[in-house]
């Protein structure tokens, strides 16, 4: 079986001209730059820090932290701040990804500072 020959005009239009080739190459380079630029953002979205805290009912609060892909928060920073941004306590999440602290009498929030560019916050008024 043979295929019909293409009309020369069709062949020409199908080929890239020298100028077209440069355009094509620029487009490819642009696309690569876009991919490289976007990749870190996508990674951040795919691996999000999460924190949740509970009132233990004994004057203490326990916070748990982790990542949306199941990665551990072990050894990463926990920070308790009052609503006026005064630091109350700073520590690390333990082996189980938990951090327990004395419940402040004033309004407060807790930060989970994980990998670079990963920060999640839990507000004291959302305690259950």
């Amino acid at each position: 079986m043979t295929f019909p020959l293409q009309h020369p005009a069709e062949v020409r239009s199908a080929r890239l001209t020298a100028k077209g080739y440069r355009m094509h190459r620029l487009q490819v380079l642009g696309l690569l730059a876009l991919v490289i630029g976007v990749a870190p953002t996508s990674q951040v979205l795919a691996h999000a820090p999460i924190i949740a805290c509970f009132d233990n009912g004994d004057g203490t609060v326990t916070c748990e932290a982790g990542y949306s892909d199941g990665a551990s928060s072990k050894g990463q920073t926990a920070r308790v701040l009052l609503n006026d941004q005064r630091l109350v306590e700073e520590g690390k999440f333990d082996e189980d990804g938990t951090f327990t602290f004395a419940k402040p009498k004033e309004g407060f929030y807790v930060e989970f500072e994980g990998d670079p560019s990963h920060l999640a916050t839990f507000y004291g008024e959302d305690l259950s």
């Binding site: 999000a48 999460i50 949740a52 509970f54 748990e64 982790g66 990542y67 949306s68 892909d69 199941g70 990665a71 551990s72 072990k74 189980d96 990804g97 959302d126 259950s128």
Partner: protein, 280 residues
């Protein structure tokens, strides 16, 4: 002369009964927590009803379950923790959409047991149920996976049931219109070409009323769409669509290793429940 006429009448009656359009839906062991993705954690009420979820009836009477437990885990590195729930179950009388009531069970899981982030794999090992119309026993090992807070854990890990569906997608994180994949296992090994039924829970369970409420959310134009019947592939893997928000039951039939119970045939099935969420 009378006898042939009587025989003919009996035959015609039997043919009429056989030809009646009976609902074509499958047996499904429910293990229903209301919602599968919680934010934040909260107390949970779990319903265990052996029913036909597309029609909400008939309900089959459940015997005392052999086991009921949850295996929970937060994060990839944590050790899974198993909590026995059987002592806390309560028998209830569940009313099907046909108004008939049969024994089912419910369970209240306390807030302290559901507050931590992570996956909670609820597992029910029911007693074999004798299905008289088929003269056999059915035992459906059932899993429902609940997540708290968005941190995953052991959702994709088998729990070692004789018949089990291992999820390849989180059963609690699916948009309606997506697909759900899983692998049918028997004794931990994939089951090639396993027979699978898929059924939508078309009625809303009412835990307070011990029955169903409201009109069905889905009706089927043909019986073959009430309980979808598919096969796993050669590796035991299957893919099902989730075209509508709500709960979908998936059952792999007669895949467990034990084939006899009290002198009758036994079908050990693997059931998993998947929740699809509407895109608003």
């Amino acid at each position: 002369m009378r006898r042939p006429i009587a025989k003919l009448c009996l035959t015609l009656t039997a043919m009429t009964i056989v030809a009646m359009p009976l609902p074509v839906s499958a047996h499904f062991q429910m293990l229903y927590p209301g919602k599968s993705a919680l934010q934040p954690g909260r107390p949970l009420e779990i319903l265990m009803v052996f029913t036909h979820p597309f029609h909400g009836a008939p309900t089959m009477e459940m015997g005392e379950p052999e086991a009921l437990y949850v295996v929970r885990q937060r994060g990839d590195d944590a050790e899974p923790e198993r909590l026995d729930l059987l002592p806390a179950i309560q028998a209830v009388s569940w009313h099907g959409t046909d108004e008939a009531a049969e024994r089912a069970f419910r369970l209240e899981v306390a807030a302290k047991d559901m507050r931590s982030m992570g996956d909670y794999v609820f597992v029910l090992e029911p007693a074999p149920y004798y299905e008289a119309t088929e003269d056999k026993f059915i035992q459906q090992f059932t899993k429902t996976i609940v997540n708290v807070g968005g941190v995953p854990g052991n959702w994709d890990q088998p729990v070692g049931l004789p018949a089990e569906i291992r999820p390849l997608d989180k059963p609690y994180a699916n948009w309606a219109g997506g697909v759900f994949r899983g692998v049918v296992l028997a004794g931990g090994e994939p089951v090639p070409f396993a027979e699978i039924e898929v059924e939508y829970m078309a009625h809303e369970p009412d835990p307070d009323g011990n029955g169903w409420v409201g009109a069905p959310r889905l009706t089927a134009p043909t019986p073959s769409l009430e309980a979808l019947s598919i096969r796993a592939d050669a590796s035991g893997t299957f893919v099902v669509g989730l075209p509508k928000a709500g709960w979908w039951g998936i059952a792999a039939l007669d895949v467990g290793p034990v084939k006899e119970h009290e002198g009758k045939a036994l079908s050990q099935d693997a059931v998993i429940w998947v929740e699809a969420t509407a895109i608003e």
